[in-house]
């Protein structure tokens, strides 16, 4: 017959309590006070990255092929990956033109720099990129997205851009590949190639985990 065995009471640090209570204690991110403690926490327990998503906030703007195009599903997949980590992900076309300020404020994104209504598409995307923490650009064709080259040379947003380029078009002798993207990859080294949707998902997920871990460690 099964008999319930009572846990031993122990006296440590001037207080008496049961060892079961101590053993069942689980360290959570909110108890960590210093960046070193946060670093050790992530190293010692690699699964902690899943738990820190509630303690950090990052916003992602996803640029790439529009609705009906070949890569639109991949863009949606990236958005889903980001949202699964409880972070903000937005397609620029979903942001209402006349309510940019209200939209950004409601999503917890800094919009204090907005001083006038922006109607031009390039300027509007640039303004959005200023507000968001990271901009993900999905390149699916060899030359049609050359307009992104505008952002690669803007210093205040270029460092926040992550480029994912399809392997099939990465060696094409196009303007984007030979010009802005080549320059961007040499300066910022934030260009990744992907072979399949699974490959892309894995890359994006790994990079987001790294970013969240970095934000978690540095936000003390």
């Amino acid at each position: 017959m099964f008999k319930y065995k009572r846990s031993k009471s122990i006296r440590v640090g001037g207080m008496t309590t049961s060892s079961t209570e101590f053993e069942s204690f689980i360290l959570t991110p909110k108890e960590l006070r210093t960046s070193k403690a946060r670093q050790v926490y992530i190293i010692v327990d690699p699964e902690a990255v899943k738990r820190i998503t509630e303690y950090v906030r990052a916003s992602f703007l996803i640029l790439g092929p529009g609705e009906g195009s070949e890569g639109y599903e991949l863009r949606k997949m990236i958005k889903k990956v980001i949202e699964s980590k409880k972070q903000v992900a937005t397609f620029p076309e979903d942001v209402p033109v006349n309510k940019l300020y209200e939209y950004l404020s409601s999503h917890g994104i800094d919009s204090s720099y907005l001083s006038r209504v922006v109607v031009n598409l390039t300027t509007r995307e640039y303004v959005l990129m200023l507000g968001y923490d990271i901009t993900i650009i999905l390149l699916m064709s060899d030359g049609s997205i050359s307009e992104y080259s505008t952002y690669f040379i803007k210093r205040n947003v270029a460092h926040k851009i992550w480029v994912y380029q399809s392997e099939s078009v990465s060696h094409a002798p196009s303007y984007v590949n030979m010009g802005p993207l080549d320059l961007f990859s040499k300066v910022y080294r934030q260009v990744d190639n992907f072979t399949s949707s699974q490959n892309l998902k894995k890359n994006v997920r790994g990079r987001i985990d790294d970013l969240l871990a970095y934000l978690f460690i540095s936000s003390v």
Binding site: I10, E23, D45
Partner: protein, 146 residues
């Protein structure tokens, strides 16, 4: 959570399973380890106590924290890094000390006795065994640069 570590290249999984021992600690933690190899690593009589000590995430965290500090720490030093009750911390530090992974040196100041904890060579070996030492070394080396 299941920890599965292969220390050598076994001829078959069955061979490894025969040599292994399954330890149930709590309800959620199952640790499967090769006991022969573990005893070889620890070279100690209190292997079971060390496994118990390392099975707790908080104790692994404490061991890692004291290792990265690079100098002996008082309990109050540890409390600067982590916001937990002092008796809970004392319990876990005591287990780490009893299992020989930490060394506790008593110091007398103003009539009071203070414990000063530092990591032992076995503690460093334990961090190597759980596969975190090299990553922790990076924090220490970055901190030493400043």
């Amino acid at each position: 959570m299941i920890y599965w570590r292969t220390f050598s290249s076994p001829r078959s999984n069955q061979n490894l399973l025969i040599k292994s021992k399954v330890l149930y600690i709590g309800l959620s933690n199952i640790i499967l380890v090769n006991m022969d190899k573990l005893e070889e690593i620890f070279e100690s009589e209190n292997t079971d106590l060390r496994i118990k000590t390392l099975s707790n995430k908080f104790r692994r965290f404490l061991l890692g924290l004291i290792y990265t500090e690079g100098r002996p720490m008082y309990q109050s030093d540890v409390l600067k890094h982590v916001n937990v009750k002092s008796n809970l911390l004392a319990y876990h530090l005591k287990l780490l000390t009893d299992s020989g992974l930490l060394y506790n040196k008593f110091e007398r100041r103003e009539g009071k006795r203070f414990s000063k904890y530092s990591i032992t060579p076995d503690g460093i070996r334990a961090l190597e065994y759980i596969g975190v030492k090299s990553d922790l070394d990076q924090i220490t080396s970055i901190a030493n640069q400043f």
